[in-house]
């Protein structure tokens, strides 16, 4: 099935999942420390953190890699827990669309704060 990460797509899926898991594991400590520090300083402190290149980059990488990694994880779950090919294809596409839309929303919000657009 197209988009199901089966057949010839399986190796790519495996590599992408591994690569994104490494990036995610590296980003999570910086994100949690930065996020918790910024939350205490109020709105301006939070905006300043995202406005800094490091904060913006950490958040951008986390959102991008996190959503990509989550989508590949969700694909595995959809493949395991949907019975018919039609419902499987529907949920795979729905998941991809949701990830794309929310990634765009998150990325544009970060860029707006970072670049002050």
């Amino acid at each position: 099935m197209s988009g199901s990460n089966a057949g010839k797509h399986a190796t790519h899926h495996f590599k992408h999942h591994k690569l994104s898991s490494i990036l995610l594991a590296l980003t999570v400590p910086f994100l949690l420390c930065g996020l918790m520090g910024a939350l205490q300083t109020g709105y301006q402190g939070f905006i300043d953190w995202i406005g800094s290149p490091f904060g913006a980059l950490v958040l951008l990488v986390f959102i991008t890699v996190g959503i990509f990694h989550s989508r590949t994880s969700m694909s595995e779950l959809i493949l395991d827990y949907t019975s018919s090919e039609a419902s499987c294809a529907f949920f795979l596409r729905l998941s991809t669309l949701a990830c794309l839309v929310f990634w765009l929303v998150g990325t544009l919000a970060i860029l707006k704060i970072w670049l002050g657009a």
């Binding site: 591994k18 898991s21 490494i22 995610l24 594991a25 999570v28 949690l32 918790m36 939350l39 205490q40 300083t41 109020g42 709105y43 939070f46 905006i47 995202i50 958040l59 959102i63 996190g66 959503i67 989550s70 989508r71 994880s73 969700m74 779950l77 395991d80 827990y81 019975s83 018919s84 949701a98 929310f102 990634w103 929303v105 998150g106 544009l108 919000a109 970060i110 707006k112 704060i113």
Partner: protein
């Protein structure tokens, strides 16, 4: 199995095939953590959009995060995120061919769960402790 299920393969995590063990619990929790992180990431994207608009939205989200329900949600999210990352790192270690024996896998499954809970408790504790000095 669900009514109308046509797939003849055993349903993952194959609870009807395998005897219950710690590595199976880790597999189930890893899936649950993946779903939690998936949902949380979508919520974070919406929050970022709210923050980009102005301060009023930030204060509302901050009040939510610092509420008891917010602290519980933060604990669940941080636990899922940390556990997901730790299990992914273990998978990378497994790719070298080491630590895949029954005893080692069960031991690492329990240790990683305890470690993830400990880290999530510390993070949530930091969040709750920062309430007095950081809230405005």
């Amino acid at each position: 199995m669900a009514k109308g299920w046509s797939d003849k393969r055993p349903m993952s995590p194959h609870m009807s095939v395998w005897k219950w063990h710690a590595a199976m619990r880790a597999s189930i929790l890893h899936r649950a953590a993946a779903v939690t992180v998936y949902i949380a990431l979508l919520v974070i994207c919406v929050w970022l959009a709210i923050f980009a608009v102005g301060e009023a939205g930030f204060e509302a989200v901050k009040a939510l995060v610092y509420s008891p329900l917010g602290a519980i949600s933060f604990f669940v999210f941080s636990l899922a995120l940390v556990y997901n990352s730790l299990i992914d790192v273990r998978h990378l270690f497994w790719d070298t061919g080491k630590g895949m024996g029954q005893k080692a896998a069960n031991l690492s499954s329990t240790l990683l769960l305890v470690l993830a809970i400990a880290i999530a408790v510390v993070l949530t504790g930091c969040l709750v402790c920062s309430l007095g000095g950081g809230s405005s």
